[in-house]
Structure formats: C-alpha cells, structure tokens
C-alpha cells in the first residue's frame, strides 16, 4: 500500500496551510497511508487540523530555524525523514516556501519533481493544466521514490474527516544557507482576495494607475468584494504585489470574477479560471478572456465601470 505524505505550512492564513488541507482531502481518497510533515513555529498546534483532514501521523518541527532559512533546514530534515520512513510520494502546496524545499529535496533524493499539478492520479502520476487550462496533461512518474509533486492551490476542496493524528516531533538538523533577518508585512485593506466572494480585477486596459479607484468604488458597494490585478500592472508598479492574481500571484475562486481591461494571458487565467462566474469588460473583442467569460462586454472599461457603479447603487435601492 502506498505511503503518501503531504507537506504543509503551520501558519493558518498561509497558502501552504490551506492548500495542504485541500491536498490531504484528496490524498485520503487515493487509498494508502496518509501522513503529513509540518515545519515551523506552530507545527504541533497545526497538526490537529492536519489530523482532522486525514493525516494519521504528523511529523512536526516547531523550531524557528525551519522557517527562517530558505529551504535548507527543512529540506535536510525532510530528507532524513524520507530515508527513515520511505514514503512513495510527497505532495507539496505550490507556495514560495514549499517550492524551495521540494526543489532541494529533488536533488538529494534524485527523484522526479513536477510543478503546477492540478490533480493526483496515484502514487506515480499527476495531472496539470496547460495553455491557461485549455488542455489537461496526464503525467506518469518513473525513477526512485519518493515522487515529488507541487500542487496548485484550490485544486481540491478541503473537507475534514474528523480524524486525529499521532504527532512525532522533529528536531532541527544543522544546515547552512540563506537566512531571513527581518520580516515586513504590507497591510492590506478590505477582505483578503482568497476569501472574497466577488473580485473586481484590473489590467493594462485601465490605462493609468489612478483608474484603479474606479474598481475600488465599485467593490466598495458589493459586500465581500475585493480588488485584484494582473502581473503586468503589478510589475509596472501600479498596485502592490499582494493584489496579484495568477501563476505567480494568488489563486482565487470567488462567486463572481469581474475582469476589467484584462486580455487573459495564461499567467493570469490559471489564477482565476475556477471562479463560479466570470464577467469580462474589454475593448478588444478578440481578447482571450472572452472565451472564459459567462458575460462579456466589448467596450471601454473607463466608461462601463463608472456606469456600472451607478447601476449597482440603483439596484441596491
């Protein structure tokens, strides 16, 4: 019987934590022993949630060194656990920190590593979506265990199974590397993108950073709405990275996603294509975003959005 491991982050508000619970839910449907590995301050506390989502055993390392080094300490500890317990496959969330751990582990174990998986088919295979989700690639793994797979957030729904996990404490191995010396948090206002029920998102078609105000005015009228953005406008410095949706940003799944002045580059689409409903407003009738949209308006965003804000006000009475 396959031994499946799920790697997670202890911080409850992190992608690495939430995605790990989603992966555990999927893992327990694959048949096999499902166990988890959690490194960083709060790991033992987090083990409870991992147990509730199907892990029968959690290897927990609470030391700050796991979180304060870039991949090295976690990969070294994980490698030691792998040699001792020999899992067949390790499933990681596609988060910044897990990516740096999985990539190092691949070199240590000489085992295959796949990124951006959207489904797992068993202990030796996974699926990924390419071309903005238009095609699904079914991949088979060979070579030594454990196979290593990084899985995109929100690929599965997290559902508790009501179990509890045996916790095994993991001590810190010695490892050199790059170190975090100070953390900076950028305060964001309004609901978090990942939790928003409606997202109003803007791209290059807004023409000027000041026009994001139009999206904020609209979002302020809709309960639980947040404002997002494409990589292009984040790279251009219009809005902070925390607002970025897509491959290198956040993956979101709101009830309604309103794409304003967004053409629909693959890098953006992978982060929002699972939204329940999608509305696109764009000048270019040929923009790829319209292929995804339940409702498409071919028009000037700078004219449509202010009018939409008025229309929403009117309907709210």
């Amino acid at each position: 019987m396959a031994k499946i491991w799920v790697y997670g982050d202890p911080a409850q508000d992190s992608t690495g934590f939430k995605t790990a619970l989603e992966i555990l839910t999927k893992a327990r449907s694959l048949g096999g022993d499902v166990e988890a590995v959690v490194f960083g301050p709060g790991a033992t506390e987090a083990a409870k949630a991992f147990g509730e989502h199907g892990a029968t055993k959690v290897f927990a390392g609470d030391d700050a060194a796991f979180a304060d080094t870039i991949g090295t300490v976690a990969a070294t500890a994980l490698h030691q656990l792998v040699q001792e317990h020999q899992p067949n496959i390790i499933l990681f969330p596609m988060s910044y920190d897990a990516r740096d751990v999985a990539s190092r582990l691949s070199a240590k174990t000489g085992s295959t590593l796949m990124s951006n998986a959207t489904d797992v088919t068993g202990a030796d295979g996974a699926k990924t979506a390419i071309f903005g989700g238009a095609q699904i690639v079914d991949v088979k793994f060979e070579g030594p265990d454990p196979k290593l797979v990084l899985i995109r957030p929100k690929s599965f729904d997290a559902e508790p199974s009501g179990g509890s996990a045996e916790v095994v404490n993991v001590s810190v191995p010695a490892a050199e590397g790059a170190k975090v010396v100070e953390r900076h948090e950028q305060a964001a206002s309004g609901p978090k993108l990942e939790d928003a029920s409606v997202i109003v998102s803007g791209g290059r078609g807004l023409q000027d950073p000041s026009n994001f105000k139009l999206l904020e005015d609209l979002a302020a009228l809709i309960p639980g709405a947040a404002v997002g953005a494409t990589r292009a406008v984040v790279d251009a410095g219009w809005v902070p990275y925390a607002m970025q949706i897509g491959q290198t940003g956040k993956t979101v799944k709101p009830k309604v996603y309103i794409a304003v002045g967004i053409s629909g580059a693959t890098q953006h689409i992978v982060g929002m294509k699972s939204s329940d409903r999608i509305i696109a407003i764009n000048k270019d009738a040929e923009a790829p975003i319209f292929q995804l949209a339940d409702l498409g308006i071919v028009g000037d965003a700078l004219k449509v959005v202010p009018k939409l804000t008025e229309e929403v006000k009117a309907r709210k009475g």
Partner: protein, 254 residues
C-alpha cells in the same frame, strides 16, 4: 566576480502556444529570450559594472537557443555557454537542473542568477535544485538585491510582503520581474555580440551518466479540458453596465 545567468529561449508568449508530440512546439514560430530572463541579465550586468567581473550566460536548449544567448550578449554579457543535445528533448526539471549544474561547475562562479520561473514551463524549481546540486544557498524571489562585502542581501517576495534575506556567496539567486529595468541592446552591442565567444557543449562533455540525463516523467495523454458553458458577449451600446448589474443581481452578490 563571475556572474552566471541562466537563460531560456521560449516560443513568443504573445502568440498562442501549440503542441507537437505532446510537447510544447518550439520550432516553426517566433522564438524569443524569455522576458523573465532579461531581469536576470540586467541584474548581472549591474553587479559586474559595480564590482568588476564577467557575465556568462548559460542555456540548455535546441541549437536555435543560440539566438537567445546572442540577445543576452547584445545587452552586454561577456560570453555564453550553450548545451544542446538531442537526448535532452523533453528533459524534466531534475534533468535540466543536473545538466545546468554540471555546466555551471565546469565554468566556475561566484553567483548564479535566474528568473523565478520560465514563462513557458513555469516549474520554478530548477534554480533550487541547482543550488542543492552545487551545495550553495538559494536566495529566491528577489525583488531587490545588493552585494555588500561578500554577502548578498535581498528583499524576498512573500505572501504578506517581503523578508530581508542574507546569503553568503557563492549562491544561486532568483529575481522577480520588476527587480530592475532591463536595458535594450544598442546597435553597437548587437554588433559586438556576434564576435563574443560561445562554448557549445553536449551531455557527454558534462560527465553525467545516461541515467542522470534521462527524464523521469512521461506524458500519458493530453486532453482538452472540459469547456465552460458558452457565455454571452455584447458590444457595449450604452447598456453594457446595466447588463453586468443585472448579472450581479441574478448571481445574488448585490
């Protein structure tokens, strides 16, 4: 200091991607230096301009990847290394990392710079695996960087903001788009690039076994994703905003 930059030639991301034999079609269309790699080249040029030294660009890919190397050379890099071998077609992330790490060792380095992920493959794991194979630190997702004495200081992008991260050298560094403003090649740069040295290597030159250079991922099949239900599209005749508002009302979000 010797700064190595990993670069990749990719199909122009402004054109729709196509498959050939279940792999990304890399010939026939327009190919470009991955736009994400231009930030790595620029970072390397700025570091050597400030601290002295040489910039070497390294690429693994088909013979045509020489064009991507020449592009980086025309920006100002000093020399190139191209690993091109038919046996590497369809190489997975681990094989790619082994090949590049072997070429990096052969060349010698103080710092290796890469983009955080390629625009076509987006795996984002090759730099970390290279760092482990080389036995050096990885400083990843840098949105700002500087070198003071022999320590690399970066601002590492995080979900909540950024972390100040320090790393001794030698190291592997990945840079985000936006870390700098990549320069455009000048006419003089383009002319000079033509005569800059580019070493061409095969797998056999790198001391890797056949097994180490064989991909451990195979594609069973590629199938179209279930299509979303066909939506409605309207030319805005002044009623577009009202249609959207009705849609929001119907979706019960207002």
């Amino acid at each position: 200091m010797n700064v190595l930059v990993l670069v990749k030639q990719i199909p122009d991301p402004n054109n729709p991607y196509q498959l050939a034999n279940n792999r990304l079609k890399r010939d026939g269309g327009q190919n470009v230096l991955d736009p994400g790699d231009e930030f790595g080249v620029e970072a390397a040029l700025q570091l050597t301009e400030a601290n002295g030294g040489e910039v070497t660009v390294i690429s693994m890919g088909p013979e045509s990847a020489m064009e991507a190397i020449r592009r980086a050379l025309s920006m100002g890099a000093h020399k190139g290394v191209l690993i091109s071998d038919d046996s590497l077609q369809g190489a997975d992330a681990l094989v790619t990392a082994r090949v590049l790490a072997a070429a990096i060792k052969k060349t010698g380095f103080d710092l290796v710079i890469a983009g955080v992920e390629s625009t076509d493959g987006s795996t984002g794991t090759v730099p970390g695996t290279i760092a482990e194979l080389l036995g050096v630190p990885l400083a990843s997702f840098a949105k700002h960087l500087e070198i003071k004495d022999t320590t690399l200081h970066i601002q590492r992008q995080t979900e909540k903001g950024f972390d100040d991260v320090e790393s001794p050298l030698p190291a592997v560094l990945t840079v985000t788009a936006g870390v700098n403003e990549p320069r455009y090649p000048t006419f003089k740069g383009i002319m000079q690039a033509k005569s800059k040295p580019v070493e061409q290597l095969k797998v056999g030159d790198l001391g890797l076994s056949a097994e180490e250079a064989t991909s451990t991922q195979t594609v069973n099949e590629v199938t179209p994703a279930p299509a979303r239900g066909a939506g409605e599209k309207f030319e805005d005749d002044g009623t577009g905003a009202a249609k959207v508002a009705d849609f929001l009302k119907e979706a019960k979000v207002i």
